[in-house]
């Protein structure tokens, strides 16, 4: 197999869940590519398939009820979906690090921070305990907590939210992963902390050259951190572009409306342009373009067929039949 240019190459990933209510189609042919050292954001609303994507990459998808129907997740020239559990363990935490939304939930409350950081080091690098502790101190310093033995000896509940998130980042980067998956890492934090954490992630990327897959619903946050952005709606990528392209010249009506609906002090007195309707359930995805019931432009064509991904130049892709059609957002 030829060496791929991509660190992570998700191709046509299709995942469904068997639920009592029926078949929930969580991902319907998702393509995401990430070059080494690139920060790619995956933006979508709740239930759009962001987290399922990250679970597939990590091999944490519960099967059943989940099922991968199609697709590949190629990471460093290996299809992660073909690995057995032992091989996956070698990758998880070592080559791919992960940070979650609520650090309080994902840190084990019964173990000290130090034990949780050294655990990965001892497991993946067969380090001696003492060396691992030294390394953990270095990591804490790196994430802005200082070479602080007190933090190492603290339990998670003794730390503030921001410190917990930093400790979690220290754990995630302990093995110098090539890819860091950050699933809404700043959503639970205050704005001032949020910015600090985003800066920290960018600094670590510059230092280690790791790729970042940044999952978020917040376009403002994404604007700070991402090089390229993929917008996901109802289990399908609807638009994929560089940050510049997406914010300056969004193509898909969903992206356009999303950007317009963000409140801003400059819009005071105006009505917000709200997107009518609600996000569709994964069990009842509309036919054709899944956005058509909420789309102000929709035509018969949109109901009938699924729009293909079309490249509009410079890697700016969008899946919509009506791109270029003029409409006035009032």
């Amino acid at each position: 197999m030829a060496e791929s240019d991509y660190l992570l190459d998700i191709q046509d990933l299709d995942v469904s869940f068997e639920l009592r209510q029926g078949l929930a189609r969580a991902l319907r042919g998702v393509d995401i590519r990430l070059r080494p050292g690139e920060a790619r954001a995956l933006v979508g609303e709740s239930g759009s398939g962001k987290t399922v994507t990250s679970m597939c990459i990590l091999g944490l998808l519960a099967t059943p009820p989940g099922r991968v129907n199609r697709g590949k997740v190629i990471f460093q020239n290996r299809d992660l979906l073909q690995l057995n559990e032992n091989e996956r363990r070698q990758v998880r935490g070592k080559d791919i690090g992960m940070i979650f939304q609520e650090p309080g939930k994902y840190l084990n409350p019964a173990y000290k921070i130090g034990e949780q950081i050294t655990e990965t080091l001892i497991l993946h690098f067969q380090m001696e305990k003492k060396a691992a502790v030294e390394k953990a101190l270095e990591l804490l310093n790196l994430v802005g907590l200082g070479k602080n033995r007190r933090v190492l000896n603290s339990y998670p509940h003794e730390l503030s939210g921001g410190m917990k998130q930093r400790a979690m980042i220290a754990m995630a980067i302990a093995c110098r992963p090539a890819l860091l998956i950050a699933d809404e890492p700043t959503t639970a934090l205050d704005v001032t902390l949020q910015l600090q954490i985003l800066r920290l992630l960018l600094k670590l990327r510059a230092k280690f050259g790791m790729g970042i897959l940044f999952i978020s619903h917040d376009l403002g946050v994404v604007k700070e951190i991402a090089d390229r952005i993929s917008v996901i709606y109802a289990g399908k990528i609807v638009e994929s572009a560089t940050k510049q392209q997406l914010f300056d010249d969004p193509l898909h009506p969903y992206t356009q409306l999303l950007l317009l609906s963000i409140p801003d002090a400059a819009k005071r007195g105006e009505r917000l342009r709200a997107i009518p309707g609600t996000v569709p359930d994964a069990e009842r995805i509309p036919s054709g373009c899944s956005f058509h019931p909420r789309c102000p432009l929709a035509e018969d064509e949109c109901q009938a067929g699924i729009p293909p991904d079309i490249d509009y130049g410079d890697g700016h892709q969008a899946a919509c039949f009506l791109i270029g059609k003029k409409w006035l957002p009032s």
């Binding site: 709740s46 985003l198 800066r199 920290l200 700070e224 999303l258 409140p263 917000l272 997107i275 996000v279």
Partner: protein, 320 residues
């Protein structure tokens, strides 16, 4: 003329007892806060988690009566009311919470949830029905869905129902505690538009809490910034965004994601330390002095008071 809602020198101290009834340091959660809200306007309250926003709001509604200070609601001082009078007064002030999932009883049909307060106040069935019908119509929920349970609705719909319930008593003052932060981005704008329409239609006055500074700037007429239990800056929303004076406010507004053109140089050291809690009586100096880029001796020694720095703009900082 006095404002519609007037808060004067509000203090709330929690003096809990610890393990085995040991005395614990009292926490001054809200410290000498004063401000007013004009009728039919939106007062936005911002600050980081733990700064006392929710405590302040609970005190204003007399859910947790304040330790000292006065709250005047349309000329009536709430502290002077008997519990019976207060109960009657409560009809006029309602609250919408952050999470619509936990605000609605999952075992009650929304019809019953909405009627509960009305039953409590002795409204006859016909009147209850009339009000519920009207409100559901107002917030955009089909009347046919009245007999459904909360789980049959989406998050945005649930929040609409919670708003309808808050309006059942025909209040004139509504506290909105992060009303959209649990909703999807595409739904948030719907609810915000709804709240603005209701404000105009029903002549409501809002006290709005949010950590989303873009949203607060859009939604509010007046803004108050809280830090560690104190109000550090007070101004009209336009003025606050154009010309923030307190260093904390500046830091807060410069942290809004997506607003920077360039990443500024990083502040690497985490300024937080474990287990640090502010205690009552530790009031010497400005509470922000430690982190303040322009703080000096004076800030350590004396406490800045809210002073007027321009028409309608007040800040608690010596350097402002």
């Amino acid at each position: 003329m006095a404002p519609f809602i007037e808060i004067k020198n509000l203090v709330k101290i929690f003096s809990g007892r610890g393990f085995l009834n040991r005395r614990k340091a009292a926490v001054r959660a809200v410290d000498r806060v004063s401000f007013g809200i004009e009728r039919n306007t939106v007062f936005g309250l911002v600050g980081e988690s733990g700064c006392g926003k929710t405590t302040l709001v609970r005190s204003i509604l007399f859910l947790d009566p304040p330790t000292s200070g006065e709250i005047r609601f349309d000329g009536t001082s709430l502290g002077t009311l008997s519990s019976r009078e207060l109960r009657a007064f409560r009809k006029r002030m309602q609250i919408v919470f952050q999470d619509p999932n936990s605000a609605l009883n999952p075992k009650m049909r929304i019809d019953d949830s909405l009627a509960e307060g009305l039953v409590n106040c002795g409204f006859p069935a016909v009147e209850r029905d009339r009000r519920i019908r009207r409100l559901l119509d107002l917030v955009g929920i089909a009347a046919a869905h009245r007999t459904r349970f909360p789980h049959e609705f989406s998050g945005g719909q649930k929040q609409r129902i919670v708003i309808a319930r808050a309006l059942c008593m025909e209040p004139d003052f509504l506290v909105l505690d992060e009303p959209v932060s649990n909703l999807d981005v595409s739904i948030q704008a719907q609810i915000i538009n709804l709240l603005l329409d209701l404000k105009n239609e029903l002549a409501l006055t809002y006290l709005f809490i949010s950590h989303d500074l873009n949203l607060v700037g859009y939604f509010s007429d007046q803004l108050g910034v809280m830090y560690q239990g104190r109000l550090v800056e007070l101004a009209s929303a336009d003025e606050m965004i154009r010309n923030p004076c307190h260093p904390y406010t500046r830091k807060l507004f410069s942290s809004v994601p997506g607003k920077q053109t360039e990443m500024e140089e990083e502040d690497d050291a985490a300024p937080e330390r474990p287990g640090k809690k502010y205690a009552a009586g530790s009031a010497a100096g400005c509470s922000y002095a430690e982190y303040c880029p322009i703080g000096d001796r004076q800030c350590q020694a004396a406490e800045p008071r809210l002073t007027t720095i321009a028409a309608g703009h007040r800040a608690a900082c010596f350097k402002a």
